[in-house]
Amino acid sequence: MTWLTWRQYRAQAAVAALVLAAFAAVVLVTGFQLAAQWHTLLASCTASRTCASLQEGGTSLGSVLGHDFAILSMLAPVLFGVLVGAPLVAHEFEARTSDFAWAQSITRTHWLAVKVGWVLLAAAVWGGAIAALVTWWSGPRNAAFANAFQANYFDQQGLVPVAYSVFATALGIAAGAVLRRTLPAIAIVIGGFIGMRLWISQDLRMHFMTPVTAYYSVAGNFNPTAGSAILNGGLVDKAGQVVTGSSGNVMTVMIDGAPGTSLPAACQQLIPASANGPNGPSGATLNAVYGCLQQAGYRQFLSYQPISRYWAFQGIEAGIYLAVAAALIAITFYAVRRRDA
């Protein structure tokens, strides 16, 4: 069976290897330039003792081409799912080669297990190789901009791309086994993969673990460890309720992220009408309002996921995708075993 799988997939394997080699060439060439740029920058800022201000932006690192390839790498899983996953079972049904395969001495389950096993392994290796290249390429940028935990950068590096690749391929296999036609299965992979990825990255990811919430003085500043992912922040009253309220007018003065009109009346009095304008409140006004808010027991808060949880989050997200992939593969086995030859 393994030999048969190799015979069926050797052309695809050659193409996948070529694509990977081309990708690696671009990433390696731009990556070495990027690393050299980074070392020069570090050396010069160490000499002038200004390295602390490097993160503040204004520093461009890496070529546009390398950056675009890193972004393109987010498409690799869906590509594998569409071109390898979806046809795996569906094309056998369409071409009726399943009738031939199932009339041999090997059981259907064995036939499916070997094919699915090798293809999922290939998906993991291929996706993993691309992710490893992108992770290496991004190293200096992660250090300079501390943004590896941000949406999209998190999705290109580390473990999660491997799990995305396995999931997309399993989705294609399962959709093909249930629908028995390649093109509808491809459409399901594209729609399902994008939908799942958006749902998890936009809605769920930041709540994998309870975020850390720091409270601090209304006049103060608080900076979490560089690279932490910030969920939200603002002003809370004495009871711990977040102060919200629609500003109505876009030029209403904002105090610690809350519109002035939502503050207690005693503090609102201290804001002159002239503060609701393009120049904003004066320093004296701000100090008076801060003092008033402090007396009323107001504090600022910031909810964030510390950067120390980066690998925990990578593990959780990869685990979710692998669990869904396992469920999809179980559906595939069920659909194939039940089907009449």
């Binding site: 920058l41 200004t50 520093t59 094309h91 491809i186 393009p278």
Partner: protein, 340 residues
């Protein structure tokens, strides 16, 4: 023949219509909200005469999730090319149905002309509807952020999505005719579409027309480029050559406008001496500034003015439609020559 095409595609047509209708419902609901938000913000800022500050304020228009969906419409042409274009001929060859079709009273050319004609028309219509919705939805954002000409935004609005969709579908049809197998045709269509889009996006679009460069004195601001597309900004020395700015912008900076500051370390040595060490005081700042001006250093902004937006849309759409026409010609040549 048209009846055959309809029979072949009625299921796909129903699914596509349902998806487009769902997208339209989301876009219209959130778009009406965004438009009313925009009108009340405009009313409020007109009353307080602060509309000039509007774009720099934190006004956010429209829903975040729909904003994502709108960006995802970048992928619509590729999906049409993969799911509708690539199988059109390849699947007929794979299943041998072309042999049946070609032995009927309809000529091969007519068979191909009607199939490709309807499919390309459908691709153009779908992309056109999606693009019209996105363009309408983005109206307030375009007015607020003046970024409709920027890469990425330009690509999902106006008429270019129609050109992309027709091109992607034609690419799918032709690769299917050449390769005669659906999956390889899908792979080539995807790679070819991304490659052609990338070359035009990154390399060619910026020079469809010669960009405008305007100069401004150091310390002053550049003339605003409005909704134009800024291609570059920086400083030129007295000889007209651009100054090489150091990679790191640490240290003192003068004339930080137009998105680029001029680090003192990039100035001639005689001006650097005036700066002394550390932060610039008001006096040293002006001394350095007039020294830089005396050396003929000016700032520049290179951009494509907003008035060229529709010319650029037309040029880019024209390029993709021409490529599509060439591809369809290849498909006709391949199908006419192929043995039944």
């Amino acid at each position: 023949m048209s009846w055959v095409v309809w029979r072949q595609y009625r299921a796909a047509a129903a699914i596509t219509a349902a998806l487009v209708a769902a997208f339209a419902a989301l876009v219209v609901v959130t778009g009406v909200q965004a438009a009313s938000q925009w009108h009340s913000a405009l009313g409020a800022c007109t009353a307080s005469r602060t509309c000039g500050n509007l774009s720099s304020s934190t006004l956010f228009l429209g829903s975040h999730a729909i904003g994502f969906l709108v960006i995802m419409t970048l992928g619509v042409p590729a999906v049409l090319g993969i799911l509708a274009g690539a199988p059109l001929l390849a699947h007929e060859f794979e299943t041998g149905t072309n042999q049946y079709a070609w032995t009927q009273s309809v000529t091969r050319r007519r068979w191909l002309a009607i199939k490709t004609g309807w499919l390309l028309l459908a691709a153009a219509a779908i992309a056109g509807i999606v693009s019209a919705l996105v363009t309408w939805w983005s109206g307030p954002n375009n007015a607020l952020q003046a970024n409709a000409f920027n890469p990425g935004r330009f690509d999902i609005m106006g008429i270019v999505p129609v050109g992309y969709a027709v091109f992607a579908t034609a690419l799918g049809i032709t690769t299917g005719a050449l390769l005669r197998r659906t999956l390889p045709a899908i792979a080539v269509t995807l790679a070819g579409f991304i490659a052609v889009r990338a070359v035009i996006f990154f390399e060619l679009r910026r020079s469809f027309m010669t960009p405008v460069t305007s100069y401004f004195p150091v310390g002053g601001g550049p003339a605003p480029t409005g909704s134009g597309w800024q291609l570059g900004a920086g400083f030129v020395g007295g000889n007209g050559q651009p100054l090489i700015l150091p990679l790191s912008t640490n240290g003192a900076v003068i004339g930080g406008t137009g998105g680029v500051g001029l680090p003192v370390s990039a100035l001639p040595a005689s001006c650097q001496q005036l700066a002394g060490n550390g932060r610039l005081t008001r006096a040293t700042y002006h001394a350095v500034l007039s020294c830089a001006q005396a050396h003929g250093i000016r700032g520049y902004v290179t951009y494509q003015p907003a008035s060229r937006y529709w010319a650029f849309q037309g040029i880019e759409t024209g390029i993709f439609l021409l490529l599509a026409a060439a591809l369809i010609a290849v498909a006709f040549a391949v199908v006419s020559r192929r043995d039944a």
